[in-house]
């Protein structure tokens, strides 16, 4: 019966086939990329590079006086501004060279969805991080405390399930820890590693402090743990006989994800910290849960910004800094009006990456900033793709974080994950993260800056094809963002060498520093903490 039916179908199709075929929607093999629209975006490198030759900038046309000038509107700068504001220092001015504050917590929006251009989640925090919890309560992310004392988080801000899936040879499994096709020896290594992490989560040093803690400056000074900063994570893993390829892939993935560097490039302390510092607790979530928003951490940035009323000027570059008898004089340049301003401040907070601070302090002696070569900042590529559909392989459905085993990129997140509406099959925006770790950061950065959109697009599409074969015709838009200095990597010796602590020391109670570069780890909590630390120094507390 079936065969007769199909015979009839085929013969009738043959009758009219020639007429119909051109009208049928189909897939031409080797579909081109001509249907994909998009553009290349990026940090305002042009404005940033004004600093390299400040001699061409116009002389200042007017003067402005403030108590505290904050240079840099990333998380650290905004956090400091907020802290100063609520502790009585409202006379501040923040200048930010980008058009949108937030540093790498940038975001965009199109007709389909908001989406992140960088940092996009915050793990459920350690309940001892009182300042952060207080901030989250003010943003409506933390809605109260359960009778047992544990915080209750806003259901709409906790990442909705399903959270993570991993594609192994075309099959999607739940979670990012590879589970499919592991032999007993590999399983044993995974179990041993996670057992080690559980031990380290509760471990304390001789000083009574946690071995691993966020912010990391509150971690134990015990040499037993700090010595782990001297060797690379990869060497440590080999030494401890963690050699299973699947485990090493997973740990390398984790390092690339959080630090933009491989396990061979970061210290063992940092590699373990990634796992062992996750001690979050909540009444309605686990420590493995994260808080996220369609626009990523831009949500938190907006809240930080709104919690202080002091002026904030975007598109403005601070380019010259000198000390005066009463404080600091800084020249700023407004990219839009092409005018310079002389800002006279009693104190200045440099909430910029260290290489920017170094340039600004070219004529100021007495600081201990690390030479630019001492810090490892990998360039990152981020692509936001608007897709009509994602041809789905077997296994778990679309999740928030979608990764392929062995993939060059870090995979993509579904920016529409937190939307509550029923899935109508409408287009989605997915955000692909790709730290460019193939070569040293310097050459990789130069190459990335020189690569045009026309060269990026085929690479991005080819990468997504490895996740979803046949997806190309469904991609409608692909915008690409290149971060020259994506984030600092905790290379061996950086975190617990003396130089990092020395670098953030204020200069003559006039010049202060706050940035995740001074933590050596670029996560929201560290930026937030850096801002508060510096604000406290400024307030003299």
């Amino acid at each position: 019966m079936t065969s007769r039916r199909s015979f009839l179908r085929q013969s009738s199709a043959a009758l009219t086939g020639a007429l119909l075929l051109p009208a049928l929607p189909g897939c031409q093999p080797g579909a081109g990329l001509g249907h994909i629209t998009g553009r290349l975006l990026g940090a305002n490198a042009a404005a940033g590079h004004v600093l390299r030759d400040t001699s061409r900038l116009p002389a200042p046309t007017h003067t402005r006086e403030v108590e505290v000038l904050i240079v840099g509107g990333g998380v650290a700068g905004l956090s400091a501004r907020r802290w100063l504001h609520r502790h009585g220092q409202t006379n501040t001015l923040l200048v930010e060279l980008e058009n949108q504050p937030g540093g790498n917590a940038a975001a965009g929006r199109n007709a389909t969805s908001a989406y992140p251009w960088g940092a996009h989640y915050l793990p459920v925090p350690d309940v001892r991080n009182a300042e952060l919890l207080e901030f989250l309560a003010e943003t409506g992310t933390l809605t109260g405390f359960a009778p047992g004392g544990l915080p209750i988080y806003n259901d709409y801000h906790l990442c909705h399930d399903p959270e993570e899936r991993l594609n192994i040879s075309g099959h999607w499994q739940e979670g990012l820890v590879p589970g499919l096709g592991l032999n007993p020896a590999e399983q044993e290594q995974f179990a041993r590693f996670f057992q080690l992490i559980e031990t380290l989560k509760t471990a304390r040093g001789a000083d009574g402090r946690d071995a691993f803690r966020i912010p990391l400056d509150q971690a134990s000074t015990d040499a037993e743990y700090r010595q782990l900063d001297q060797l690379s994570f990869a060497d440590y893993l080999t030494r401890e006989k963690f050699t299973a390829p699947a485990l090493r892939w997973y740990l390398d993935y984790a390092c690339r994800d959080d630090y933009g560097a491989t396990a061979a490039q970061v210290s063992a302390w940092a590699g373990l910290h990634y796992f062992a510092s996750r001690k979050g607790q909540a009444h309605n979530a686990t420590g493995a849960d994260v808080l996220t928003w369609p626009e990523g951490n831009q949500f938190l940035v907006r809240q930080l910004r709104q919690q202080a009323l002091a002026p904030l000027e975007t598109g403005t570059v601070a380019y010259d800094l000198r000390e005066t008898a009463t404080g600091v004089e800084v020249l700023t340049y407004d990219v839009a009006t092409r005018q310079s301003t002389r800002v006279l401040a009693r104190q200045v907070l440099l909430a910029t990456p260290q290489h920017v601070a170094t340039r600004l302090l070219a004529r100021v002696p007495g600081h201990a900033l690390l030479p630019p070569a001492a810090l490892h900042h990998a360039p990152w590529l981020i692509a936001n793709l608007t897709v009509e559909a994602l041809p789905q392989g077997p296994g778990r459905p679309l999740s928030w974080d979608n990764v392929r085993y062995g993939s060059q990129s870090l995979g993509y997140i579904n920016a529409s994950q937190q939307l509550l509406a029923q899935d109508s099959g409408a287009a989605k925006v997915i955000t692909l993260y790709w730290p460019l770790t193939d070569e040293a950061p310097g050459p990789a950065r130069r190459r990335a800056y020189q690569t045009p959109y026309a060269d990026w697009l085929p690479r991005v599409v080819a990468e997504l094809e490895t996740y979803h074969p046949g997806v190309t015709p469904y991609i409608r838009e692909a915008d690409i963002w290149v971060w020259g200095h994506g984030m600092v990597a905790p290379t061996p010796g950086l975190l617990w060498g003396a130089a990092r602590q020395a670098a953030m020391r204020p200069v003559r109670n006039r010049i202060f520093f706050a940035h995740t570069d001074f933590s050596g780890i670029s996560i929201f909590e560290e930026g937030f903490y850096q801002g508060i630390r510096a604000a406290r120094e400024i307030l003299g507390k």
Binding site: L8, S12, D161, N284, G425
Partner: protein
């Protein structure tokens, strides 16, 4: 092909030099086609409207009557009769051939389906009625009258026998109604083509008619191929019964099937109700809640675009307004317009007290500012993460904000027998947002054991509050009492709370149903 080059006489077409059997063969073919159209119309009417005896009887009557009109009208056709005949065959081919696809596809759109059905049946009947008298007139010089009558009618009835045998045995099972209709339309066109090719006198208009026939054949052929595409979704799902309606909306695939006993609605292949026993489900969904709220005035219904819960609500004259929010306009429009479904929901969605909004329930509930005395939540089962959000603690928290003081809600909570963890997970999630819950269940033959959770600010109600409307077929104070008892195989099991960040319910539902789908 053409045997004679002589110009035919203008007014009296002859078939003298033609093979005598050709036109008789045409009679056999058109007779078969004619009866097939009648059978298609009758079958379609029974499929779509039910009550096959009435449908077949009235369709056959209307069809035969229309044929009579056609026979009568045939006398007004003068001039070159062969030309009329070819024209007629093309028309019959198109009208008859498209009858089934047109009726199937228009079922959802036209306000009065019967009118269209009988109009098409009438038109086809008239055209078919002209055929035989016209052919007899064409053949009148070829045979003596008694021979002519004997032969034409003999062949006609043989064709009818053939049609009546192959229709149920071969055509419907193998091709389905749409393709059968198209195939026989094409046969009429082939008759037109053969006559056009074999008779010399058709030469002056041959080119013009050939073009018409080719275009018509291509049209029918296209539909023949597309029929599969159009109906693939429904037919390949292997519904037990005949699919009488199917439509893919952006949100779901709606399919309506019927057999002699009942009408069934499927969303994405999952049974939503059977007309045979849906009253049990909808009475159990609505009446315990309303009985618990003797002073309820305003009701919100989420989901339930079929209007069947609203039908039950309208049995309470005290209600002032019923607001139904359903995602899919495809559903609510179908249940507001289709005669058959209007009979089932008693036009509930068109009632002046009822307001229908097509919106995503989650977004809508968060934005709405009104308060309701009663909320009826009748969503599809939590079979995916998207729907799972509508059973989450966060959603119930938003829903509680819409309850007036003392208000209560009821939630369709899947089967406590087939999906025991899922059922109790819904109950526990409602309890987790601070509601007192009253779980209950009943037997719905087409579903099995089914459960609901009534939830409100207190645990006062135990099935003994206000009066019930007259005429209920399942719910009585005694049945309510029975529904509250859970035997050991359905009794409470511990579960997690369904939250957006764990979607525990979807996971339970997958586990619970796993044994049944593999």
């Amino acid at each position: 092909m053409v045997e004679s080059v002589a110009e035919p006489r203008a007014a009296a077409p002859t078939a003298d030099r033609q093979p005598p059997g050709l036109l008789l063969l045409a009679v056999a073919v058109i007779a078969t086609c004619g009866l097939i159209y009648e059978l298609i119309a009758g079958t379609l009417a029974s499929y779509l409207l039910g009550d096959s005896v009435t449908q077949f009887s009235t369709i056959i009557g209307a069809y035969l009557f229309a044929m009579g009109i056609g026979s009568w009208l045939s006398k007004y056709l003068d001039g070159p009769l062969l030309r009329w005949f070819i024209r007629l065959e093309i028309l019959v081919g198109l009208v008859g051939g498209c009858m089934a696809p047109v009726l199937f596809l228009s079922f959802e759109y036209v306000a009065s389906f019967r009118l269209l059905l009988y109009a098409l049946v009438g038109l086809t009947g008239v055209l078919v009625g002209i055929e035989i008298p016209l052919l007899m007139r064409i053949l009148e010089h070829r045979y003596s009258f008694k021979d002519l009558v004997a032969r034409v009618f003999a062949v006609d009835y043989v064709g009818a026998l053939l049609a009546s045998l192959i229709f149920p045995m071969v055509l419907v099972p193998q091709l389905g109604l749409i393709r059968t209709s198209l195939l026989f339309g094409a046969m009429n066109l082939v008759v037109a083509a053969v006559v056009l090719g074999r008779f010399a006198e058709t030469r002056p208009y041959r080119r013009q008619f050939t073009a018409g026939i080719v275009v018509s054949l291509l049209g029918l052929g296209t539909l023949f191929v597309l029929a599969d595409k159009l109906l693939a979704h429904t037919e390949t799902l292997a519904f037990q019964d005949q699919v009488i309606y199917s439509k893919s909306t952006p949100y779901q695939r709606i399919a309506l099937t019927r057999n002699s006993r009942e009408l069934r609605l499927f969303l994405n292949g999952n049974l939503q109700f059977s007309s045979a026993d849906e009253y049990r489900y909808h009475e159990a969904l609505v009446h315990p809640l309303l009985q618990a709220l003797p002073r309820a005035r305003r009701v919100l219904v989420l989901g339930g675009g079929d209007g069947l819960a609203v039908r039950e609500l309208l049995k309470y004259p005290r209600l002032r307004s019923i607001h139904l929010v359903d995602l899919d306009p495809g559903m609510t429009e179908l249940f507001r317009q289709n005669e058959l479904l209007l009979a089932l929901n008693k036009g509930a969605l068109n009632h002046p007290k009822v307001q229908v909004t097509n919106a995503d329930a989650y977004q809508w509930v968060r934005q709405d500012t009104a308060r309701y005395d009663a909320i009826v939540v009748d969503f599809p089962d939590p079979g995916n993460y998207s729907i799972g959000k509508l059973y989450s603690a966060a959603f119930y928290t938003a829903l509680v904000r819409r309850l007036a003081p003392g208000g209560r809600l009821v939630v369709q909570s899947t089967s406590p027998y087939l999906a025991r963890q899922s059922f109790w997970c819904v109950a526990h999630t409602l309890a987790a947002v601070g509601l007192h819950t009253v779980p209950y269940h009943l037997y719905v033959p087409s579903f099995g054991e089914w459960g609901f959770v009534l939830a409100g600010p207190d645990a006062q109600w135990r099935g003994d509050a206000g009066p019930l409307p007259a005429g209920l077929r399942y719910i009585t104070p005694a049945t309510i009492h029975d529904m509250l008892r859970f035997p050991p195989d359905m009794s409470e099991v511990p579960t997690e709370i369904n939250q957006l960040n764990n979607q525990a319910l979807v996971r339970y539902f997958e586990e619970d149903w796993g044994p049944y789908v593999h």
